[in-house]
Symmetry: C2
Subunit: 790 residues, 2 copies
């Protein structure tokens, strides 16, 4: 059944009123809770059935071998995989003699609700045991935004109809058996039972387990404590072994009597800290949370979210589904980042084990633009994490005979984990993407301290990389050869337009930052000659152009290659990478995800409008969107070049990626970049926001189907709200230290706090809808509108 | 110590008079015996010490997993590895109470001689046991050219000085423990003990063992029988277990009395044949060989080699080392091929386990040109093997979305074993190389039956591959994009000159063969349109040209790339692939092995003399020769463009590759292509032989240091001898069905059987010696000649 049928369309929550046991893994991802430090998949409280149990700590991984049939110099020898740490969310229940298990008995009522304003996952169940005993179970679960190490559960149970003997077992479980072992038996062996017990202890209603990962040597501590409230008598007992601890509550309740258990959990991990230190750390976190209690934690959660939504909320009139989707997206983006604090934001956040829990360039290019304009400090935190990994990135650059820093394609701890270099190491654009995130953050916040402490070093080290990666021709041009751009259906090409333009921006930004902070730059060894070399390389970077077709080739010679034979590619052969060899994909004109089109968006100031239109149309015919990283960019550029209907279709695809499970892998975790992309399509696409110059610029225009779009943007200490209607846009400076200048279309507007400035929206020329490869057009958002002119 | 110090310089044999226990593995390769079906490394008769025990049967392999950290569509899931089959060459000896083991006691005299005319490896040892008992051991070993399944040993033993009790144990041993297990534990597990016992039996002085490989399911039978001759009384006994059989000879000899044991061994393997059939097969082979006896086998061996040398011998005056080396080379090339009979010729022949025993393009491009002009039937056999594997090559092409046949980059059984596609699958030139071998064989033999039965199908299926691999531009040009040429320091490039020219030849040859054999072609589904498409593609194939530099880029854009920084590359960083990532190598101008220069040789009719000279000089500055496949080609083209001294240096490098262990890996087996290359440098280089047109053409010229060069060439049923002196060349048609027309320089000569035609040699212009990358110039063959003009 379709995911979209399972969930009600509501503006502020995701509600499930039917339990599909076969789809549990998907719902566990959608209902995952996280604060960026801890991640709990939405597993049922009773532990099973499950799709995939998951408790993750950001940055906590196990090493695993990376096997090669034919190894090569510089191939990483070991990788990192996020591990399922000690599970604290299990609350087993015995009703009479029967275990509460939804595979048996009768489920009379079921509802789960993830509320984007409270940050609490609620569940309400009425179940009749096989022996005929009915119970009602209400649980609430949160991962605290305000207590970084803490999650909590409120567990309320009452018998219905008749009195019942009830036993609740609240657990901590390490080394849970996982389904779907890894295909490589050696990797499976490493990951099967990654936690080696170090210590365990119980006391009254509390327990703690300390483990250490076998190969990566990380110490992981987990603890729980409880508060029980019930009108009846309760027997309690806490016991443990190496890999588990259990607090048992046994009681007998009359119908209507409620057993309420508040469970508070805390986790910590460290590479360096001692066993006693880690025990104290989680015990301390637990004490702090017990002091707040469930009510306190829930109140703080709500307050934190209120603040977030006040700035970040996006309101949509006319499309209730999209309204829900963009709030769902923002909520999960916030969850991935709020308390990440110098740790990565993985591609799946902390919602599932997909991509081994690795962080990619997606974070900087798709997630950080959202955070930069909604939760700026979270962007700074991620970039500080990148800075923390600079020693590893420098070492990697040395290994590759390059200067500066070469950030990894995929990683948890900062070391390269990509074992396939043409689509990993060669994709050097990740370095420019990090630099771009620095530039964007600085433009948005004017955070000077960040600039000289963190931004400058990141810009300098990445600029050095580009300077050594490219080379000068005798004619003085700057070439960057043999690298891989964003499109993963091409690899190892010369002068990728996106990479070259982003590298040039990186080089210019480093030069600018060094000029602004000469003392800090000098400490990094930057001198005037180096800065001049950066500017010079940036000014001379090659941007290939196909005279005959009048379009930019994605990389040199791209447009000379054979077009993919789309006509003979049956629908079931998508995604292509599962049905065709890389060899074949790389040598033909077929695009997995926006690459040149991403340059049209992010480096839009480097193209004429006519070029954008022609380029966009050309690449539409080649782009198959076998990646979740494409639709949002296509939406944004489609809106800009005058294909508003198409932009709307792509916006919906980005927004519904996980809610509708469009790529059939939401079970492994949510697509953070696509979720962030939903915001980007609205703000950059229909809001037309760009950040190329000194001032934020807007060029809004709504597609048919959206009647009104309102969004907030943080810019330094200023808070701007933009309210877009079909014919008019209103800009309001909600808060700020002083006036804020922005650009509307080609006009400069200076806003004063509290004032609203309205402007009419000029209708831009519309063009014939371009053709996508057969079968690869996005689903029409407005099926009643079959026009090809928009 | 240097290999060159160990062996005496003699014209017709390789003689070792000193045993270096640390260099055993190298000598085992140099002294390996093979007939192309069976290969025995030159292990000491007593089994140990050894460098690497080795008994190989051509085509007999075990499957092994090919692990990938990140797999991709079309990656081969399992590979093939040559296995060390049942060892029959062990003759253990007890002298008194002491095992004969050269690590103990005193070695009074040692000599091993591989005689290129008798095809027998002789050993003569005088050894004094730790207890003081001296013995003389003389052994002779051959792998029969005339009995394909048979090898034999004559073992002669006498006590010196005093009488002695002697026990000889003649063995068959399966699943020998090998040193250096594979790095991947799963692969090591598979290869540690690959043979599963099926049957074993003994009878009087004979024994047999039958095994089956665990994963590939090949049945391997080995058997031995003995004849003993001695003046004293001998007790004999034969016993066995699953993995071994042993015939024991116990006697007591007076000084001067000789114990002579003739041991005959037979092997067979099959995928299909039953256990009884395999037992009968080896028993039958054994009976046939026992009937000939040692003397008969040795006589037939000599006769076979006499015939070979009569046509194939190359005589060199002025350079005794090179004389020895070229005969050593020809002997091993013959050994690799003589009885291969529809089996591959692996890169290492059957002399060691290097490259997993795989066959590459080397066979067609380097080894077959030698065989075609010396032992033509061996070329036909190899190409028939390729034809036998066509079903697999067609399936591989389908998997790659191509038509026709895609032959594997490396294989034993015809399935692709390359796990790194940029340097494997993408190197499609192997298909053109096979087609080229067909064309060359047909030109040399005019073997019509082969043409319509085998050659045509190979040409057609490879032409189909090229037609589908390339594509037409709107301007009508034929492009072949995203492939890898011969140079392994570049990969996945567009319009590789070598590949494009060879593909064009392939297409033209297929068209020509189809036109000559329309009925056979029709059976392969070839019609006039297809033939026209081949001719048309061939006529329009792109050959990139760099206007500015006035040279051919190896592939499109190659000359735009950065030059490798040779100045900062220290000598210990060669070979580069062990010290720099592929990423870095691929994107820069640095050449591992002749690629464009190979095109200058093999497609020499497609370049002007001026282009050849300029191209050669340009690529000399970039070519580091980290491959044994380079020196011979550089030698040939250097000779053509007028760098005779340099050509001589490269010729020596090719010829001494294994004799002097230049790449420090002769221990793993001999470099068949380099050995073949030694012949090519003499015949194609200094003999100036080319085969582009209707007639064989010669343009001979000797370097200083070679006073005379004589070689034989088979052309159809004709046998030509060419006798080159500094000022003159003489052509003699030794045998043949009628007159033979050849070209000398630009003159056409028609030779009659028995006549000699002499012509003066025009001195061609010489040019300044080009520069190689620092430290990568070949060793000067004539150190007394420091001139840079040659």
């Amino acid at each position: 059944m379709k995911a979209s049928d399972t969930y009600a369309v509501e503006p502020w929550c995701l509600r499930e009123t039917r339990l599909e046991l076969g789809d549990l893994a998907r719902s566990e991802s959608l209902f995952a809770l996280s604060n960026g430090h801890i991640g709990l998949r939405g597993n049922l409280d009773e532990g099973e059935p499950f799709g995939l149990p998951g408790t993750y700590l950001n940055g906590c991984y196990e090493r695993r071998p990376l096997p090669y049939a034919e190894a090569g110099y510089g191939y990483p020898e070991s990788g990192q995989t996020v591990i399922n740490v000690t599970n604290g969310k299990i609350m087993r229940l015995l009703v009479g003699d029967e275990p509460f298990d939804l595979r048996y008995g009768t489920l009379r009522a079921h509802e789960r609700t993830l509320d984007f304003r409270t940050g609490v996952l609620q569940r309400c169940v009425e179940w009749v045991s096989p022996a005929g005993q009915a119970v009602q179970l209400r649980t609430q679960r949160l991962v605290s935004f305000t207590h970084r190490a803490v999650a909590a559960i409120r567990y309320e149970l009452q018998p219905l109809d008749t009195a019942s003997r009830l036993v609740v077992q609240s657990e901590l479980v390490a080394n849970e058996e996982l389904p779907r072992p890894h295909a490589d038996p050696r990797v499976a062996a490493v990951l099967a039972s990654p936690l080696v017990p170090e210590a365990s202890d119980v006391r009254a209603l509390s327990a703690e387990l300390v483990h250490r990962t076998r190969l990566s040597g990380l110490r992981v501590a987990a603890a729980m404590d409880h508060l029980v409230d019930t009108p009846s008598q309760v027997s309690t007992d806490t016991t443990h072994d190496d890999d588990w601890a259990r607090t048992t509550f046994a009681t007998r309740l009359e119908p209507g009597q409620v057993l309420c258990i508040d469970k508070v959990m805390a986790w910590g991990w460290s590479q360096a800290r001692s066993l006693p230190a880690m025990r104290d750390q989680v015990a301390g976190a637990l004490s702090g949370a017990m002091h707040s209690g469930w009510t306190g934690l829930a109140r703080e959660q709500r307050e934190h979210l209120d603040q977030f939504w006040e700035c970040a909320d996006v309101q949509i009139e006319g499309d209730a589904e999209l309204q829900q989707a963009v709030r769902f997206s923002l909520f999960h983006v916030l969850q991935s980042a709020a308390r990440a604090e110098r740790r990565p934001i993985p591609a799946k956040g902390l919602t599932g084990p997909g991509y081994d829990g690795h962080c990619f360039w997606d974070t900087e290019t798709f997630v950080l633009p959202v955070l930069t304009h909604t939760v700026p400090h979270a962007t700074a935190d991620v970039l500080r994490w990148r800075q923390d990994t600079l020693p590893l990135a420098r070492e990697r650059a040395r290994q590759l005979t390059l200067r500066g820093a070469a950030f990894p394609w995929r990683t948890i701890n900062g070391e390269e984990c990509s074992s396939y270099w043409p689509a990993g190491t060669a994709a050097f654009h990740v370095n420019a993407d990090i630099a771009d995130a620095v530039v964007r953050y600085l433009a948005a916040t004017e955070d000077e301290e960040f600039e000289h402490d963190t931004g400058l070093e990141l810009l300098v080290e990445t600029a050095r990389l580009w300077r050594s990666l490219g080379h000068r021709t005798l004619e003085g041009r700057f070439r960057i050869d043999g690298i891989t751009g964003p499109d993963e259906y091409s690899a190892v090409a010369d002068n990728n337009v996106y990479t070259n333009l982003m590298a040039a921006r990186n080089l210019r930004a480093a030069a600018g930052a060094a000029a602004r902070h000469p003392r800090h730059a000098a400490r990094l060894g930057v001198d005037a000659d180096e800065v001049a070399a950066w500017r010079d390389a940036a000014a001379n970077v090659i941007v290939p152009w196909d005279e005959v077709l009048g379009v930019h080739p994605q990389s040199e010679a791209f447009t000379a290659h054979e077009r993919w034979n789309f006509d003979d590619t049956p629908p079931e052969n998508y995604p292509l990478l599962l049905h065709y060899p890389y060899f074949d994909l790389y040598r033909k004109q077929v695009v997995k995800q926006a690459d040149l089109v991403l340059a049209l968006h992010l480096c839009g100031d480097q193209f004429t409008s006519e070029q954008k239109r022609r380029d966009f149309d050309y690449y539409e015919g080649l782009t198959v969107r076998d990646s979740s990283l494409s639709a949002c960019t296509q939406s944004i550029v489609a809106a800009e070049v005058g294909h508003l209907g198409l932009a709307y279709d792509y916006a919906a695809e980005a927004a519904f990626m996980d809610l509708h499970d469009l790529e059939h892998n939401t079970r492994d975790g949510l697509h953070m970049a696509a979720l962030a992309g939903a915001w980007l399509t609205l703000v950059h696409g229909f809001g037309g926001m760009r950040d190329h110059g000194q001032h934020l610029a807007f060029r809004p225009q709504l597609p048919e189907g959206i009647d009104r779009l309102t969004f907030g943007v943080a810019r330094g200490a200023s808070r701007l709200r933009v309210d877009v209607m079909p014919q008019e846009v209103a800009y309001t400076l909600m808060a700020g230290p002083g006036p804020l200048t922005i650009a509307h279309q080609d006009e400069s507007l200076t806003l004063v706090v509290g004032d609203t400035v309205a402007r009419p929206i000029g209708r831009r020329p519309r063009h014939p809808r371009p053709q996508q490869p057969p079968g690869r057009a996005p689903v029409r958002r407005r099926t009643q509108d079959p026009s090809t002119h928009e």
